[in-house]
Symmetry: C2
Subunit: 199 residues, 2 copies
């Protein structure tokens, strides 16, 4: 990275938690100027618009979250262990970015708002679902998971319950809802596991 690229990356890293906490409309260029110590001209040398900066900030925030949630998955043996880890990791490891889950924040923030962010959030959701669906399919193929299991139902269930519980937990200021989600999702996962693995 040259100096310009380093500065650009540093701006993204500083702007990401601000956008994640305040939303696109709630975060002004002035906020980013204050946090970075740069003048407006200095910011616009690296980004064509506020939208451009917000898009890069979201990609960075989501990348950090995906890294935290998936980096250990490759070390686990078997689909059921991976699915259980996804639940446990979400429940026990807080979002790496101030402001909570960037995907949920940006999804809600952009429904009726910025179309570029909405598209990026939709892609983030699609990728997350795809990762879970592939784990479920693999588990069906190797006889770990009941063949009648619908991968997209498992993906929707895990994501919906985890994100919804995170919302409740943040509002209540306790982790009760996340712990309740873990208990229930473990039962849901138990129900798709093949008791006797084919030899």
């Amino acid at each position: 990275m040259n100096k310009g690229q380093l500065t650009r990356q540093r701006i993204i890293e500083i702007a990401a938690p601000i956008f994640n906490q305040r939303g696109y409309e709630g975060c002004s260029i002035q906020d980013v100027m204050d946090a970075t110590g740069l003048e407006k001209g200095g910011l616009y040398r690296h980004f064509s618009s506020k939208e451009d900066l917000a898009a890069e900030a979201f990609k960075y925030a989501l990348g950090q979250a995906v890294k935290l949630r998936t980096s250990h998955l490759g070390h686990l043996e078997g689909s059921m262990a991976k699915l259980r880890y996804i639940v446990e990791n979400f429940v026990t490891a807080p979002s790496p970015m101030a402001g909570g889950c960037p995907l949920m924040n940006t999804a809600l923030d952009s429904y009726d708002g910025n179309p570029v962010l909405r598209k990026l959030a939709a892609r983030g959701l699609r990728d997350w679902k795809k990762r879970i669906c592939e784990i479920v399919k693999c588990g069906i193929d190797n006889g770990e998971i009941a063949p009648a299991t619908e991968p997209s139902r498992v993906a929707n269930m895990l994501i919906a319950t985890l994100e919804g519980s995170l919302m409740i937990s943040r509002m209540e200021g306790t982790r009760d809802a996340l712990r309740h989600a873990q208990t229930t999702l473990e039962s849901v996962l138990d129900s798709i596991e093949m008791i006797t693995k084919p030899s």
Copy 2:
């Protein structure tokens, strides 16, 4: 209602979907002026501040949602029928307010934002959980629901899964995630139901 009260109520009804769609920061007083056709002075005759108007708009939006979700509950016999109706109603009847569920929108919007709205959203969540907990407790008392059932776990599970699924459904533009939530939540509810009622 006198004329002033009628005007105030009309402003709230017009502002509610705008705040629900765009969030507190994304909705300006100018937006409300444009939608109502009133001048700034006309608005501030009825509300002390933008925050005051946003708070009234949220209370109205939440009230409309609660009415849609609960008005039929009193006609149903038994706790299990009520819990199943809560799931079915959320899955099949869209939010009565443009922009989706006011509770989730305002919760996400106000985490790191407006404290008045955050307090109102937290109260809305608390009331919703309380309604579900009371139905579960009543079901335990009358032998419909397994005595070991933890009412707050059922409440957290229903709310988290429904709200999370709504988020996915809106992002995807399909109702798949909501339908998946219904299937899974019906199994969760089946698992707390007493098979044989005590005579």
